[in-house]
């Protein structure tokens, strides 16, 4: 009883902060999402409009386009980070010359603010000035212009995100790999299992929880990407990289469409929760229940 109370006392500051800076703003956003509210309209007050905003969003081509490019971005970026992160983690499990230096350099992007990452990549990719278009042209005769090519802009953003966040995946997976017990691997080798079999039947299942947790984190981050894209392309060319975060930003801040912008935010939050839930029930929950049955 005493320890329970002590636990609540320790939790109280966090819960209080969470309530004021998490719960109240969230409830307020949900409340605003049921209103028409633009402070620069003839009527600047909030006007309750029921589910109109939610109905509108279903037919909003700009929103649907943003959703489409965001999903594509998430799939390409997160999957690539997962694969690359795993390969790098495996590489760092072995000894090689300069490993410490390489590992330090490899984690440097993580400490950079997204807006800085966007600025650096903008400098590197600006047509005719940036180092990347310059060498692509000089070495391969490829003209790269992120101001005109939707594919170039989208691909650059995916690569930028991979560059920025793969180290996080690597570090998480190194932690998972280090903590694996050696016995199952030794046993598998004695039984004559090959590397692919060991990977598929032992390594992957054992690091799956860490992998899925990393995917959760990266999925949520990727869905709300704004800063880097804002700095690099502003959502262009056209709407080729107008991800949901950029779309919401433009709707809420420059356009001051607080009501509809809040609706989009609520929907995006809902979609994020659904995506994470789907991941959980399809990948993690079966494992958990299987383990319970085995126990």
């Amino acid at each position: 009883m005493h320890s329970k109370r002590l636990g609540w006392i320790f939790l109280a500051p966090t819960l209080t902060i969470l309530f004021f800076f998490g719960v109240i703003p969230f409830v307020y956003v949900v409340f605003v999402s049921f209103h028409q509210w633009n402070p620069f309209a003839v009527n600047p007050d909030m006007v309750f409009n029921g589910a109109d905003n939610f109905r509108r969003i279903v037919f909003d081509q700009a929103f649907l386009n943003s959703l489409g490019v965001t999903v594509l971005f998430v799939v390409f970026a997160v999957l690539s980070q997962l694969v690359l992160g795993y390969l790098l983690a495996q590489a760092f499990m072995r000894d090689f010359p300069g490993k410490a230096i390489f590992r330090t350099i490899h984690t440097l992007p993580l400490i950079m603010a997204p807006i800085i990452v966007g600025s650096v990549w903008k400098l590197m990719t600006t047509p005719s000035i940036g180092i990347i278009p310059h060498y692509l042209d000089e070495w391969f005769g490829i003209t790269m212009n992120i101001g005109t090519s939707a594919v170039a802009a989208f691909t650059t953003i995916v690569i930028m995100d991979i560059w920025h966040w793969t180290p996080l995946v690597t570090l998480t997976l190194i932690a998972a790999l280090v903590s694996l017990p050696p016995d199952p691997f030794e046993q598998a080798q004695i039984d004559g299992a090959g590397k692919p079999q060991i990977f598929w039947h032992i390594t992957l299942p054992m690091i799956a929880p860490a992998m899925i947790a990393t995917v959760f984190i990266r999925l949520m981050d990727a869905l709300r990407t704004v800063d880097e894209v804002w700095m690099l392309t502003g959502g262009g060319p056209g709407s080729a990289t107008r991800f949901l975060g950029v779309h919401i930003f433009r709707e809420v801040f420059p356009k001051t469409n607080y009501g509809y912008g809040s609706t989009i935010s609520v929907i995006v939050l809902y979609l994020t929760i659904v995506a994470c839930w789907l991941l959980y029930v399809t990948m993690l929950a079966p494992r958990t229940s299987r383990r319970s049955e085995e126990d």
Binding site: F40, S128, G147, T233, P237, G238, P254, K255
Partner: protein, 479 residues
């Protein structure tokens, strides 16, 4: 001379000026008026631009030394400046005592009653009225910050034209002149029509290619995902074809489409768009990723023979050797115009380009209005203007034009100040729309699709006109 040197020299000059002011008793007045507010900190938010940096690094410290009132000026990006200022005024938190008001946003702020009427405020507080401050000293640009009664809501602190810059050294090169004459049959001179401009642009782009030079015939502020491109078209290109106020007719139920009486998708608008896109196609490759900043950089790097450039960049391009490769090689002129546009502008029925700038206003939510009013008057005095105009090219006071330092600097700028003084009346600020950002944001995504070629100019402008009218209806302006 680079900006930091200019700022240093200006600080020194201002110290001397303040000392002189001390002699004639004005310093005593500032000290006495500010005495009740000594130790107070006033805060302002503004765009990180040379004029604002001058305020932060020169004027604010001088005011602080003179009055004991601390001035904290936050310089940030254009988007952040608006975001922070609007949120503060909307919520009435009073974080900022001064906000930068760009000319195009003033109507939104007035509609929302965000700002203090400075004329009234100083009239009601005679003890705060500085002897060296007079609203009559401002150029007519101050009119943009007045209401229908002529009351001022912001102290102008910067004003520029978006001008036609050209490379004097190239235009005056005898070999180039001969080649141009041979190719076109006419003399090489700054363009006065769009056809002439196109001809010059094509000539220099071809000239750059033929001579393996990093030189193109024109700049283009044509970013495919940033509002800078939208602004270039509506502020600087469409008016030269006779499309004013974005093609929206405020006197006709805010009609945007031709079908309803607007001009946003009219033949002039389409012609303007097609012409501009054709220029974009022969501009430097970075143009589709260029905002106003990159256009300045492109010109300053010597990569364009001519272009439409914001005046705030024209200063460093023409005179700052630490940043520009074309110092002393720049000329200014009026933009190329379609038939009848100049006559319409002279008659007051139109305009030929953008008169940009901004002012410092005092939100109603300010908790230090008296101290702020003193500072706003301090930066609004004639005395501080000449050094400011040299350090960060901008003129907001009539007397500034005649100051010897400014006259000398005008030569370095290729006559830029003369152009503002003599032809400034042909240019105009943004239309008096309280829905500025809302309509811009509603139409800009379609505009970008025109730039990428996903929509033709005709289809795109049709869609933009429809989007503008839908937004205006939703906001309640269009019935």
């Amino acid at each position: 001379m680079n900006l930091s040197l200019k700022l240093g020299a200006s600080a020194l000059a201002l110290t001397v000026a303040t000392t002189s002011a001390s002699a004639d008793g004005h310093a005593a007045w500032w000290k006495e008026a500010a005495a009740p507010y000594e130790g107070v900190t006033i805060r302002g938010v503004t765009e990180s631009s040379p004029p604002s940096q001058y305020i932060r690094e020169v004027l604010a410290p001088e005011f602080e030394a003179l009055t004991g009132i601390r001035v904290d000026v936050e310089t940030t990006s254009w988007d952040q400046m608006f975001d922070k200022g609007i949120k503060d005024m909307e919520a009435g938190t009073g974080i900022y005592d001064m906000v930068y008001i760009e000319q195009d946003i003033i109507y939104s702020y007035l509609a929302r009653d965000f700002l203090t009427n400075l004329t009234d405020f100083l009239g009601e507080n005679a003890e705060l009225q500085a002897p060296t401050y007079d609203e009559a000293n401002f150029t007519t640009f101050a009119d943009y910050f007045k209401d229908g009664d002529g009351d001022l809501y912001g102290v102008p602190m910067e004003a520029f034209l978006k001008v036609y810059l050209y490379r004097k050294d190239l235009f005056e090169d005898s070999e180039i002149q001969a080649a141009f004459k041979e190719q076109t049959g006419r003399d090489l001179a700054p363009a006065t029509t769009h056809a002439e401009y196109s001809e010059i642009a094509r000539f220099f782009t071809d000239y750059g290619k033929a001579n393996d030079l990093e030189l193109w015939g024109t700049t283009a502020q044509a970013h495919t995902g940033h509002v800078a491109s939208w602004y270039e078209y509506y502020e600087s290109v469409a008016p030269t074809f006779g499309v004013y106020n974005w093609g929206i007719d405020a006197n006709n139920n805010f009609a945007a489409s031709v079908a309803n009486g607007g001009a946003m998708n009219g033949p002039e608008a389409i012609e303007a768009m097609e012409w501009w896109l054709s220029m974009r196609d022969i501009a430097p490759p970075e143009s589709p990723a260029s905002t106003w900043t990159e256009v300045g950089t492109t010109f300053g790097a010597g990569r364009a023979a001519q272009g439409l450039v914001y005046g705030e960049n024209a200063g460093w391009i023409a005179a700052d050797e630490t940043k520009s490769l074309v110092v002393g090689k720049v000329g200014v002129a009026l933009p190329p115009l379609a038939d009848g546009v100049k006559a319409a502008a002279e008659a007051g029925d139109g305009y030929i380009g953008y008169y940009d700038g901004g002012a410092f206003g005092m939100p109603h939510s300010s908790k230090n209005k008296e101290a702020t009013a003193l500072f706003l008057q301090f930066i609004g005095q004639n005395e501080v203007q000449p050094d400011w105009a040299v350090a960060a090219p901008r003129v907001t006071h009539t007397a500034t034009y005649d100051d010897p330092k400014v006259v000398a600097f005008n030569e370095e700028l290729g006559g830029y100040y003369d152009l503002i003084k003599d032809k400034g009346y042909l240019f105009a600020g943004a239309p008096a729309y309280p829905f500025h950002a809302q309509v811009r944001e509603a139409t800009a995504p379609i505009f970008y699709q025109i730039l990428t070629g996903d929509l033709s100019p005709q289809d795109g402008l049709d869609q933009m006109a429809a989007a503008a009218e839908a937004t205006l209806t939703e906001l309640g302006y269009r019935k």
